[in-house]
């Protein structure tokens, strides 16, 4: 057996008066996060390269003249860090007041996206929604983009660039970019056109990382007016074999949307257009809702489960009697869960004693 060197270099630093250990390469934000310091942040997404744009995550370091952004500053041995002094908390509040003043609304519906409540929550936490800066709005919504999936409500954009970064770093599509600077900053596609005419694949990752709901899930938003709380159920995407983890969003008995699971082992927060947006086949009016049985006139008509099961069983019994047990064949589904496949093969093997069972992987 070869022994793999797993021991990483560990050192210590002081965090809010307590000595803590860290691994070389960790940022102050990451160390603080492990110790549940709850440093506020807006441009931070743990999956992305640190960016240091919003300055909300600043902390004080002994010996440093000015506070530093904790998300971009690496922890060093012996460092003494304070994450929430009165001065810093005041600074954060002012920053949030300025950010909030530029936005049309803060109280966005959670159906807009996974991270859409981040700004709203922070403004609430800091009591920063007072409108002290009543400024002009930055960013202009692109309502001409009539794609059915992604709302581009840039009136709510705070220029954290998480969308641009997730598209480049996580999705690898480079479909969107930043135009202009400062107050005029605008998120755009190549040639300032629609997403459909860009490299966008409608994976929805930009929607799910947006902290203000500026980018929003149009399909989920159809359910905003439905009564009831949003509930989440962890499951696996029904499409390809990658097996992305998702949270199914429901209101009452209605499936209203999908969130990628940030801790899903196969996808780590990513989805594609199918997993993100193609969920509404589930409660579609075309669904089969009762068993069907072929009548004497050759038509399929609705039947009770008892009648349908009897008919189904009768056909197999007759075939086996007349033509022997090798006249019956089973095809299991690659779409249904394993319990179905297991029982299909058991049905054939235990019931007829043959191996006349297969699945759809040959096609």
């Amino acid at each position: 057996m070869n022994r793999i060197q797993t021991e990483k270099e560990r050192s210590t630093m002081t965090l809010d008066g307590k000595e803590v250990t860290f691994t070389k390469g960790e940022t102050i934000y990451e160390v603080a996060d492990r110790h549940r310091k709850n440093i506020p942040s807006l441009c931070y997404d743990p999956r992305l390269d640190p960016f240091g744009g919003c300055r909300l995550c600043v902390v004080e370091i002994d010996g440093a003249r000015n506070p530093v952004a904790s998300c971009t500053t690496k922890a060093t041995p012996g460092m003494v860090v304070r994450t929430a002094t009165e001065k810093i908390e005041k600074y954060r509040k002012t920053l949030l007041e300025m950010v909030a003043s530029e936005n049309r609304e803060l109280d966005v519906d959670p159906l807009r996206g996974y991270a859409s409540q981040e700004l709203k929550t922070l403004v609430g936490r800091y009591g920063a929604g007072t409108g002290r800066f009543m400024g002009a709005q930055s960013g202009t919504s692109n309502m001409d983009d009539t794609n059915p999936f992604i709302l581009r409500d840039y009136d709510l954009c705070i220029s954290c660039y998480r969308c641009v970064r997730v598209c480049a770093e996580q999705e690898g599509d480079y479909a969107i970019s930043i135009m202009n600077r400062g107050f005029e900053t605008q998120i755009t596609t190549e040639f300032n056109g629609t997403l459909k005419d860009s490299a966008c694949t409608f994976c929805g990752q930009c929607v799910q990382t947006c902290p203000t709901g500026a980018l929003a899930d149009k399909k989920a938003m159809r359910a905003i007016d439905l009564p009831g709380e949003i509930e989440k159920t962890r499951s696996i995407c029904p499409y390809c074999g990658v097996g992305c983890s998702v949270d199914i969003l429901t209101k009452g008995d209605k499936l209203v949307g999908i969130h990628p699971a940030m801790d899903g082992p196969a996808n780590e927060g990513a989805l594609c257009i199918k997993g993100q947006f193609a969920f509404d086949f589930v409660q579609h009016p075309d669904r089969l809702t009762t068993p069907l049985v072929r009548g004497d006139a050759g038509e399929l008509h609705e039947a009770s489960w008892d009648e349908a099961l009897d008919r189904a069983a009768e056909g197999f019994r007759k075939a086996a009697e007349k033509h022997g047990r090798h006249s019956i064949y089973g095809v299991a589904s690659g779409r249904a869960p394993s319990e179905a496949a297991y029982l299909m093969q058991k049905f054939i093997r235990a019931g007829f004693g043959t191996n006349y069972i297969d699945n759809c992987s040959r096609a």
Partner: protein, 525 residues
């Protein structure tokens, strides 16, 4: 996959062959893109200039069905340049000498003739793959849906074995599975040659074990495959139970398929929609869908994961497992008294060694990749680390064979088929999701612009495409994604049933249909 999905971010050299990953497995492709951004080299072999080709460092546009030739020539170069891993070959493989001898004759020059790939690019690909510390292979149906699908896979295995690119991080041979539980359905024993957990049915010990478990004497010989069963419909095969598969659209040679199902005395289909296939059934049983069902699925990296119900079933729809149980009980079969999917899954775990360490509660957090032989085992993210399942890796002597049909005067064009990002399989699901039409409203035949002109077609207009089996009308889309002389269409739309044309042959071992190659004639409609 021999290696876990996270390993896709780790290779130095990535070799993708016969996989349109950005469209078929988009989330997996994002991991490759990360590896590339980190500096990994990407080699792409595919007849079509797919998106992956655009981001590759080396693109090998091979003629459809000539994969074995390309791979033999790569092996030739690796051997000639001394890039083989002698230690690995000696300790972990057998028949290496015969293989190295075998590849001496297959020069890149010879391969260029058949594949159309420049010999110097074959050399480069082989040298990159052979020199890499960590090289990984990814493939999908572009490798398997051929009459020589097994030869193709074995050729890839040969490359892996000769360079020792297996059993380590960022290496391996990785088929990407197409359906959410296509891995799980095989694991569960829905195969004519194996019991649950891939236990061979021809092994008398396994037979004895299951005879005891199930209380029935079970045949010692392999069953027939679905392809053969369809051939025998109306003859030996009289009754079929099909769970959730739109056979008519997804299987090759639609006419044959439809005829086969119609000639049955009895057809029962379990599905969530009244598909083309369900419409032929005597009894259709409504199943629960995603979001309505509790159960277990296994993904392409062998990760066993829970799916969960979030809403009530539509109407009277029932879970597939329940339906099969009821049917079995109506027939008086023993051993179908399950009250929950948990009980079913736990029985599956008890009877299959690869799941032996698992049960319903243990997989709650998606932590395990099989094999998990016992409760103390942490699972197996990476296969073949110290040993292959059967001890040593065996080199295979593979030779090139022409596809079942090759282009001729009558059918001078290669048709190859596949999938598209926005639609899934036969569109029973995506076709019913709002908004998808905005991006993909109908099927089109992708034709190189030069061919569009040469064949007297025009972009956006209809054409008639015929093979030895039938003919379809389809719109023309001029695109340089298709090479000259090769056209592409997906099989997703029922109004353009491309599978009327395909189905020229099957792999003799797996009976996988040659969906990737079909000579056709394309003319103005």
């Amino acid at each position: 996959m021999s290696n876990p999905l996270v390993d896709m971010e780790k290779p130095d050299v990535i070799f993708c062959i016969g996989t349109n990953m950005t469209e078929c497995h988009p989330v997996a492709a994002t991991r490759l893109k990360k590896a590339i951004a980190r500096g990994a080299k990407l080699i792409v072999a595919d007849p079509r200039r797919i998106e992956l080709a655009d981001i590759s460092d080396l693109y090998l546009p091979l003629r459809v069905g000539s994969d074995v030739v390309l791979l033999l020539a790569m092996a030739h170069v690796i051997a000639r340049e001394g890039l083989i891993d002698r230690e690995f070959i000696e300790h972990r493989t057998t028949k290496g000498d015969a293989f190295l001898e075998h590849v001496v004759e297959f020069t890149p020059k010879w391969a260029e003739e058949i594949t159309g790939v420049p010999a110097k690019d074959i050399e480069t690909a082989a040298i990159w793959y052979g020199m890499a510390d960590k090289a990984a292979i990814y493939y999908t149906l572009g490798i398997t849906e051929h009459i020589c699908g097994v030869d193709n896979v074995q050729s890839l295995c040969n490359l892996v074995l000769m360079t020792g690119n297996i059993g380590r991080e960022g290496t391996g041979i990785n088929p990407m599975r197409g359906q959410n539980n296509i891995q799980g359905v095989g694991d569960s024993g829905a195969l004519p040659n194996s019991y649950p957990g891939f236990q061979a049915v021809t092994d008398p010990e396994n037979q004895a074990k299951f005879t005891e478990l199930y209380g029935t004497e079970i045949d010692l010989e392999n069953g027939i495959t679905k392809v053969t069963a369809l051939d025998f419909c109306g003859d030996q095969i009289r009754a079929m139970l099909i769970d959730g598969e739109n056979t008519l659209l997804s299987d090759p040679d639609r006419m044959h398929c439809e005829h086969a199902l119609k000639s049955l005395d009895h057809l029962v289909v379990i599905d969530i929609f009244l598909t083309d296939t369900a419409q032929l059934a005597d009894v259709v049983l409504p199943a629960t869908a995603f979001g309505e069902t509790d159960g277990v699925c296994t993904n392409t990296e062998r990760r066993v994961q829970r799916v969960r119900a979030a809403v009530s079933p539509m109407g009277e729809a029932k879970p597939d497992w329940w339906i099969v149980c009821q049917l079995a009980k109506c027939l008086g079969f023993q051993g179908f008294d399950f009250a929950s999917p948990k009980e079913v899954f736990n029985e599956l775990c008890r009877v299959s060694p690869i799941y032996a360490g698992l049960d319903w509660d243990r997989i709650d957090k998606s932590e395990y990749q099989w094999p998990v032989p016992d409760k103390a085992h942490a699972g197996t993210p990476r296969l073949h680390e110290v040993e292959f399942v059967n001890g040593r890796g065996i080199f295979s002597i593979v030779r090139y064979r022409d596809p079942a049909e090759t282009v001729s005067e009558e059918f001078p064009v290669w048709l190859t088929t596949g999938r598209r990002l926005q639609s899934y399989h036969t569109r029973t699901q995506t076709g019913r999701a709002q908004g998808i039409d905005y991006l993909l409203s109908e099927e089109a035949l992708e034709v190189h612009p030069d061919d569009v002109e040469a064949w007297g077609l025009s972009n956006g207009e209809w054409c008639q495409m015929s093979s030895a089996r039938g003919s379809v009308k389809i719109r023309v889309k001029a695109t340089k994604r298709s090479p000259r002389g090769t056209v592409f269409a997906s099989f997703s739309f029922s109004d353009v049933p491309v599978n009327i044309l395909t189905g020229s042959g099957y792999d003799p071992i797996t009976q996988t249909a040659e969906l990737k190659v079909c000579p056709v004639r394309v003319e103005l409609a």
